[in-house]
């Protein structure tokens, strides 16, 4: 069997397994979408877009449509750690409900602190119940970094004041798959920026199970849903890079597909925000754009229903999907020459210039001393 057939068979098998599981909803996806005014045609277009985004051949489109219809068979638990809820916002805020967000609603979302109605003891009971009922079957999505200092006491949740650390570890132990949604869950994010008093870490650093990272501040709705859809259809982890990011989304740099790249190669740079170059859409490299050092698909997928993204709006990329970007990329609107070396509080170029000056002065002093020493020695030689 060639690779294509094998993958296709795998997806079909997976759909058969999913269909055999009990449904958790009263209405089907079709009914739900129809009620909200979304036609089948749009739904198929959406399935085709997901297929293309995941870099799969178009023959997979009907399979994705089928899998999406079975989305309610996948129980989901979404935990909030040290974070700002921006990632959830990225997914659910749109001018009109998108198919992405509707499918997400339709998925059997067992626990999500921002979206659920329950509170207090009841909420906690829901979580425990979900973890027990769907043990080994649920997908765990974590948003936010996990504080580990003082045994995790920097973050406690709920009526029983469990630490975030223990909660994540407990939920991870019975999860079918774990996704870190956003840079904080993936790499620690701003909580983990130096000096990191709370000892915040990415989820993969505190659990033993394999974790898929979907970083970004926030990641686009497409990257979140695409990762989910991939797991839905195949039941396995996608191809990952060395930071456990799915290659289909994080395989290329922002810079590789940036609409301003032509101006970069031509040496046409915005010299200050609002100048003529800025009006003409020139490259933002000299305004500190981190696109050449950042892996993500923003330049092709964009945000807000694919309409726009930071560089399109005239602000450089700030490298938000890279590990420790707060420490390695800053200042965000200045190029590398302004990057402060940790602990020295100075830039490389300043330190370099200082050292070079010291070198030149040292050479000068040594040369002058040599002149004196030579004449002194010559004198001594003559005298002897």
């Amino acid at each position: 069997m060639n690779g294509f057939d094998a993958l296709y068979a795998k997806a079909q098998e997976r759909i058969a397994v999913l269909s055999s599981l009990p449904s958790t909803k009263e209405e089907s996806v079709e009914q739900m979408l129809e009620k909200r005014g979304i036609e089948r045609r749009d739904f198929m277009k959406w399935a085709a877009a997901i297929t293309a985004m995941l870099a799969l051949p178009s023959q997979f489109t009907p399979l994705f449509a089928q899998a999406a219809k079975l989305a309610d068979r996948l129980p989901l638990i979404w935990l909030h750690m040290a974070e700002c809820t921006g990632c959830s916002e990225s997914l659910i805020r749109s001018d009109a409900p998108t198919i992405d967000s509707l499918i997400f609603d339709y998925i059997s979302l067992e626990y999500h602190e921002t979206l659920m109605a329950a509170a207090g003891w009841q909420a906690e009971a829901n979580l425990e119940n979900a973890m027990k009922t769907y043990a080994g079957r649920y997908i765990l999505l974590v948003e936010g970094g996990v504080p580990t200092a003082m045994n995790g006491q920097f973050l406690t949740l709920g009526a029983q004041a469990k630490t975030g650390l223990s909660l994540v570890q407990e939920a991870a132990s019975n999860a079918a798959a774990i996704f870190s949604i956003g840079t904080c869950a993936s790499f620690g994010g701003i909580q983990a920026a130096a000096p990191n008093p709370t000892g915040a870490k990415g989820v993969d650093k505190v659990v033993k199970q394999p974790v898929i990272n979907v970083p970004g501040c926030p990641p686009s709705a497409e990257n979140i849903v695409g990762t989910l859809m991939h797991f839905l259809l195949f039941g396995t982890l996608p191809a990952l890079d060395l930071y456990s990011r799915p290659k289909w989304a994080y395989g290329n740099r922002i810079h590789d597909h940036c609409e301003r790249r032509g101006h970069f190669d031509a040496g046409e740079f915005v010299e200050s925000f609002g100048d003529d170059g800025a009006k003409d859409g020139w490259c933002l490299y000299k305004q500190g754009c981190k696109g050449p050092y950042t892996f993500n698909n923003c330049s092709t997928e964009r945000f807000n229903q694919h309409t726009h993204w930071p560089i399109g709006a005239g602000h450089g990329c700030m490298g938000c999907s890279e590990p420790n970007f707060w420490d390695t990329m800053g200042p965000l609107e200045k190029p590398l020459q302004s990057h402060l070396i940790m602990g020295l509080n100075s830039t490389v170029d300043k330190i370099g210039t200082t050292l070079l000056t010291a070198t030149v002065i040292g050479i000068g002093a040594h040369a002058v001393a040599s002149l004196f020493m030579n004449s002194k020695e010559e004198k001594e030689e003559k005298e002897s």
Binding site: D241, L242, Y243, R253, D256, G262, H263, F264, D265, A266, G267, E268, F269, Y285, K286, K290, P292, Y293, T294, F295, G319, E322, P323, N324, F325, T328, M329, P335, L336, Q337, H339, V348, D349, I351, G352, L355, L356, T359, V360, I363, H366, A367, A369, S370, M373, N374, E381
Partner: protein, 231 residues
């Protein structure tokens, strides 16, 4: 060599083989080119302005890469010759000085005008350390340069090295750090070069032996002391 010259010179010795001499000057030219083009890449001060079809920045990058690959080749050859080349025995002898406190003191004292510079191999201990450091910078610049390169060109060498260089990238903590380290190596060269040139000239005058010309002819020699001449 005519009479007057040979009269003032004693124990001529062969130091650098032709391969090492050529490689030295290749490195000198190429590193100069890399520092200049690298500086432009870091802060592009020229813009075409006239038309977006003139790829000024891309042209600087491509020269940087041409120099870069010459440096990598020259660096690899030089490392091979250090261990297996015609000069390698006397080069390796310097290791004996490197680990001897006495040799360190002799060299440091000689730089402060106390005593002669005596050594077992061809380099003094401080000299050997600084040359090793600069080779380390060449290797570091080459490796970080390659990591940056594979993201610009995905085929050929870029494709072959892609996976291994991405591994290096993750060891260094992401592409932003790779770039910073690459940038720091530039300062390594900028500081080494003036010291290097000065020390060559200074020790030629101070210890009355061959200077820059050694790297052209391959021969070192010592001028006879004045008393000998008078005899």
């Amino acid at each position: 060599m005519d009479e007057t010259q040979s009269g003032g010179i004693e124990h001529i010795s062969f130091v650098y083989s032709i391969a090492n001499r050529i490689l030295h000057w290749i490195r000198a030219i190429v590193i100069t080119g890399l520092v200049i083009t690298g500086f432009y890449i870091a802060s592009p001060f020229l813009s075409s302005g006239a038309s977006s079809d003139e790829l000024i920045y891309a042209r600087w990058v491509s020269w940087h890469l041409v120099f870069g690959f010459i440096l990598i080749t020259a660096g690899l050859l030089r490392i091979y010759l250090f261990f297996f080349g015609p000069d390698s025995k006397s080069e390796l002898n310097s290791l004996k000085d490197e680990f001897s406190l006495k040799s360190w003191i002799i060299q440091l004292k000689s730089y402060f005008f106390i005593g002669e510079l005596l050594k077992k191999g061809m380099y003094g201990p401080l000299q050997f350390l600084s040359y090793t450091m600069i080779m380390f910078f060449v290797v570091l610049a080459s490796i970080t340069g390659l990591v940056l390169y594979i993201h610009v060109y995905h085929q050929g060498i870029g494709g072959m090295l892609y996976d291994s260089m991405r591994l290096v990238e993750s060891w260094m903590g992401g592409l932003a750090n790779v770039r910073l380290i690459h940038h720091i190596t530039m300062w390594g060269f900028l500081i080494f070069i003036p010291i290097h040139i000065y020390m060559v000239i200074w020790s030629a005058i101070r210890f009355k032996h061959g200077g820059v010309d050694i790297m052209f002819t391959g021969y070192d020699y010592h001028l006879k002391k004045k008393e000998n001449e008078e005899k």
